[in-house]
């Protein structure tokens, strides 16, 4: 059986080559936001690329600081989302990782993760003079007929928008395949996290973060499913990833992509990072709906950041129970306003349940906002609380 490492390398290569190949063959390329219903676009023959994911690659390659500074020179405020700053700063940047993303023919953005993406893509559309389609998800659709109809109508408009600009039609059998693979990949992604429900944990949270790319950028493909199946197989044969005596911790929110380990120091065998809930945000629920479009409505309206505050708090409660967690490190990621707004109620909820927590202020991709000594102090103080 092919190793997970080898499959992941192929997924990376295929993804970055697909853009260049598409441009060469005259195939339309779209930049899409993270929780766009990519299945619809791929079923219409569009090659989809994720600027947010590319910003992560730039941060992990230690290029984000330069790119953000370059963006600032172009009169952007430092307070903007660092992903968007990297995106703008990567324009005209020499020696881009993977040669950079090719120019898009269209842009698709959604507001089921944040409001910034729409503004960012809107600005990109103006700068590049290309069409933009925006999908609005007011809340998780659930059983609400009105909401489902509202989103379904937007999907129809999206299809018409793509057809208008490419003359491509939807391949419905391709759509079904995509949705089936997405559903399967998300199930496998959930299974990987579930490995850490056992004590000791089976797979490091940092290793899960490093396995994120396929669920983000290759959701809806056979390759993503193959990768996660291989990873689960390998993990089940390897030894535990922690000790039974470890204090089990949750990292709430985004990793810090510019750090080699993606999380600051301070976690070890005694204080183990068992789960990062950000990676679980990608465990989209495609449900068991009667049609592919209905499945997509359920999945993409039900993204974590689109939930109500109470739903988010209940979810964290459940994670603490399911994963037997003893404390929570909360990353106050200054780039993500939507996630920042939840921190005080989350701290209050955890305190009521006598779960210690600590807030670490930094950023997902801008190392200028990473203050190592301050973070160390907070982590050390937090560990003092957790010591029995």
């Amino acid at each position: 059986m092919e190793s997970s490492k080898s499959i992941l390398a192929k997924i990376f290569t295929d993804y970055y080559l697909s853009g260049a190949q598409a441009k060469k063959e005259g195939c339309p390329v779209a930049y899409i936001s993270a929780f766009t219903p990519v299945e619809i676009l791929r079923a219409m023959g569009i090659v989809c690329l994720y600027p947010e994911s590319y910003a992560v690659v730039c941060a992990a390659s230690n290029k984000s600081r330069d790119m953000i500074h370059s963006s600032s020179v172009g009169s952007f405020a430092q307070d903007l989302c660092s992903y968007s700053m990297i995106s703008f700063g990567s324009e005209n940047y020499p020696k881009l990782p993977y040669g950079g993303l090719p120019e898009p023919d269209m842009l698709i953005s959604t507001n089921n993760q944040c409001g910034t993406t729409n503004l960012w893509f809107s600005l990109l559309a103006q700068k590049k003079n290309i069409p933009l389609f925006t999908i609005d998800y007011p809340a998780p659709a659930g059983d609400s007929d009105a909401l489902r109809c509202y989103i379904a109508r937007q999907y129809e408009s999206l299809t018409a928008f793509v057809k208008k600009h490419t003359a491509h039609d939807m391949d419905y059998s391709q759509l079904s395949r995509q949705v089936a693979f997405s559903r399967q990949a998300c199930q496998l992604w959930a299974d990987i996290h579930s490995l850490n429900k056992s004590i000791p944990a089976r797979i490091g949270a940092d290793k899960i973060v490093n396995a994120l790319f396929p669920i983000v950028a290759a959701r809806g493909t056979q390759a993503a499913c193959d990768y996660y199946q291989a990873l689960i197989g390998e993990q089940s044969q390897s030894g535990p990833a922690g000790s039974t005596k470890a204090v089990r911790l949750l990292w709430h929110g985004y990793p810090m992509w510019f750090l080699p380990a993606k999380f600051p120091g301070g976690f070890d065998d005694q204080f183990q990072l068992v789960l990062n809930d950000y990676t679980l945000w990608w465990n989209l629920n495609y449900g068991c709906d009667s049609s592919d479009i209905d499945s997509l409505i359920t999945a993409y309206s039900g993204t974590y950041l689109n939930w109500s505050l109470e739903s988010k708090l209940c979810w964290v409660d459940k994670l603490i129970q399911d994963y037997a967690l003893s404390g929570v490190v909360i990353h106050a990621n200054r780039s993500c306003r939507r996630a920042l707004a939840d921190i005080i109620p989350l701290r209050a909820r955890l305190s009521k349940k006598s779960i210690p927590s600590v807030v670490i202020e930094s950023d997902m991709a801008n190392p200028d906002f990473y203050a190592e000594e301050q973070i160390k102090l907070r982590m050390e103080s937090f560990k003092d609380i957790l010591k029995v």
Binding site: I344, S351, P356, S357, V358, V359, L377, S381, D384, K387
Partner: protein, 267 residues
């Protein structure tokens, strides 16, 4: 007699406390922090020994805390300010449930249980809003000392609001108020209120009991106007202990003494 030394290597001052085997404070000392933290701590240590007429050989344990704690080369152990303040604060007042500490660089709210164990804490964000540094920098813009700010603020006769909590932006606002002919006293009061507002926000991040006693420590706690403003905003009595700047150093000294004697501490 054996003695134990606690050093709080803060961002503005080095505070030192020496205790004896019965946990009595036998000496306190404070020196400004120089560029070389270790050298400043050494200087403070020598000064304290001289004050107490003791020799280094009488000191059987040294624990450092504070932002420069890891720079202190001659200590046995370094502990965080949160731990040190909780031990020190609880030891001087076992009814204390909350400690508010406003230091030069960090502001902290510490919540303890009835045994003095830290249950929760919150610290200021990366910027200096709500810290002693904020008052230090802004007072310099007004040509007064931090100590003078207290007296002057009590003469304020109008309520000004500062829209910026950022130290740098606040300076700009100060200049603008001065240009408009605003009274210095009113500007100072507005600066103190801005710090209180930051601490109030920090307080909201932890969930202390409704009636717990609050100890207010750190150099800034000597500012009466800020203490009063905090008390009103938090709707609680706030107690400033004697020598509020030395509570962290005292806690550090106690930490070593108690651990050395294998006494159980909640830490």
């Amino acid at each position: 007699m054996q003695y134990y030394l606690g050093i709080d290597a803060g961002s503005s001052y080095i505070k030192l406390v020496l205790i004896d085997g019965d946990e009595n404070i036998v000496g306190r000392h404070i020196v400004p922090r120089g560029a070389d933290i270790n050298a400043s701590c050494r200087e403070g240590y020598s000064g304290l020994l001289e004050k107490c007429r003791l020799d280094e050989s009488a000191v059987c344990g040294i624990v450092a805390t504070g932002y420069g704690r890891k720079q202190v080369s001659f200590c046995e152990k370094a502990i965080t300010e949160i731990t040190a303040l909780a031990i020190g604060g609880f030891s001087i007042d076992s009814n204390a449930e909350i400690i508010i500490d406003i230091g030069g660089q960090d502001s902290k709210i510490i919540v303890m249980d009835s045994a003095g164990k830290v249950m929760d804490f919150a610290m200021n964000q990366k910027c200096s809003a709500g810290t002693g540094k904020f008052l230090e920098v802004t007072s310099a813009s007004l040509g007064v000392t931090v100590d003078q700010m207290d007296v002057l603020s009590q003469k304020a006769d109008a309520i000004l609001s500062l829209s910026a909590t950022c130290t740098v932006f606040a300076e700009t606002e100060i200049i603008s108020h001065i240009a408009k002919g605003e009274k210095k006293e009113n500007i100072i009061k507005a600066l103190i209120v801005a710090v209180a507002s930051q601490i109030q926000g920090l307080f909201a991040q932890v969930s202390p009991g409704k009636d717990g006693k609050i100890l207010y420590t750190g150099g800034v706690s000597q500012n009466q106007t800020l203490k009063k403003e905090l008390s009103v905003r938090l709707n609680r009595d706030i107690v400033v202990p004697e020598h509020p700047q030395h509570i962290g150093a005292y806690g550090a000294a106690l930490y070593w003494k108690r651990n050395k004697e294998n006494q159980t501490t909640p830490f």
